[in-house]
Subunit: 202 residues, 2 copies
């Protein structure tokens, strides 16, 4: 740090590359999309656990920590969903910039919204993972009782029931969350991250 | 990882404490406030540089990476400034949750807005740093020519000229950025972080 001098106020800046060196791995955004109950949040947290075990820094953005905070002024209309996804995309970009492997778990039902997010990133920094699970399976699970309420008309604009879900046409990875075990799904995501050169070199 | 089994889809969750262990240091939010030209952004980047040199993970949120992204739909009216600060507060909370020492550099002129952000945090997780610099000094620097334009009436609602700046009454730290060298200011912030037990144990 040297001796104290009356230096001018130059702007220092730690780069993303420097942060990645400090972490020992590359950062990027893994964007999970799929129906409510398709396992996006559970899968992303399980991937986070696996990343943690090999010393990687990651963070999950999902409804639990975003809908009650950053986006608590937004509802579920088409316009509000669009703004919700836009904000999450911008925040995810900063997390990746900070050197964190950023996992997002939102239904994100519209192709146009997901495309707009993708366009924020260099191609190697964004992975869209489609959690493919038949509506019947999601509805049968109905972990939070939301499908029942949507069928009863108690919830409007519920994806898959009263609001569309637009399947990804060319996702970077499709995981059959309705058919595979959680561990099998995690393996597929980790394998994708390995292929992308994200994980630390052994 | 052991053998593959048809485990149920339990939700794993890496805690903030676990992330802090991985990083080797505590995380929190350092909230810089002060007039335009008082040195918030330069100081926060210089602190980031110093933190990087001792292996700490940090990230600066400032106008450059927030106003053109997450908050690009917002202007500078009182209501928009409030929403701007609210979103930044919520985002900073998630960054801290992710184990990152989060430095925010925004004028944040209103006490009520800063208080609302502070209330999102446990007391030990939020440090308000007042970058104290006389308006005359900020205006004389006028790095971006904004004061000149505000005086000419070309910019409305410009803090210090046509919009109020409410000084912090009880900031956690006051740094005289108008009088001290950058390095002296960085020393004061680092010393504050050391006192708070944020920095790694030697």
């Amino acid at each position: 740090m040297g001796e104290r001098t009356n230096i001018t106020w130059h702007q220092a800046s730690i780069t993303r590359a420097a942060r990645q060196r400090l972490s020992g791995h590359r950062s990027l955004v893994v964007w999970f999309t799929g129906l409510s109950g398709s396992g996006k949040s559970t899968l992303s947290h399980a991937v986070e656990q696996r990343l943690y075990e090999i010393g990687c820094r990651s963070f999950v953005l999902d409804g639990d920590n975003v809908r009650h905070g950053l986006c608590r002024d937004l509802g579920f209309s088409e316009g509000d969903r669009m703004e919700n996804i836009r904000r999450i995309g911008e925040m995810a970009k900063l997390f990746a910039e900070a050197g964190v492997i950023t996992l997002t778990a939102f239904i994100s039902p519209y192709r146009a919204d997901r495309l707009r997010v993708r366009e924020l990133f260099d191609p190697e920094d964004f992975v869209e993972v489609y959690c493919r699970c038949p509506l019947e399976v999601c509805e049968a699970r109905d972990v939070k009782g939301m499908y029942r309420r949507a069928r009863a008309g108690e919830i409007c604009d519920f994806t898959g029931i009263s609001s569309p879900y637009e399947e990804p046409l060319t996702p970077d990875l499709t995981v059959d969350t309705g058919r595979l075990s959680l561990e099998q799904c995690v393996d597929q995501v980790m394998s994708c991250l390995k292929d992308r050169g994200v994980l630390p070199q052994p």
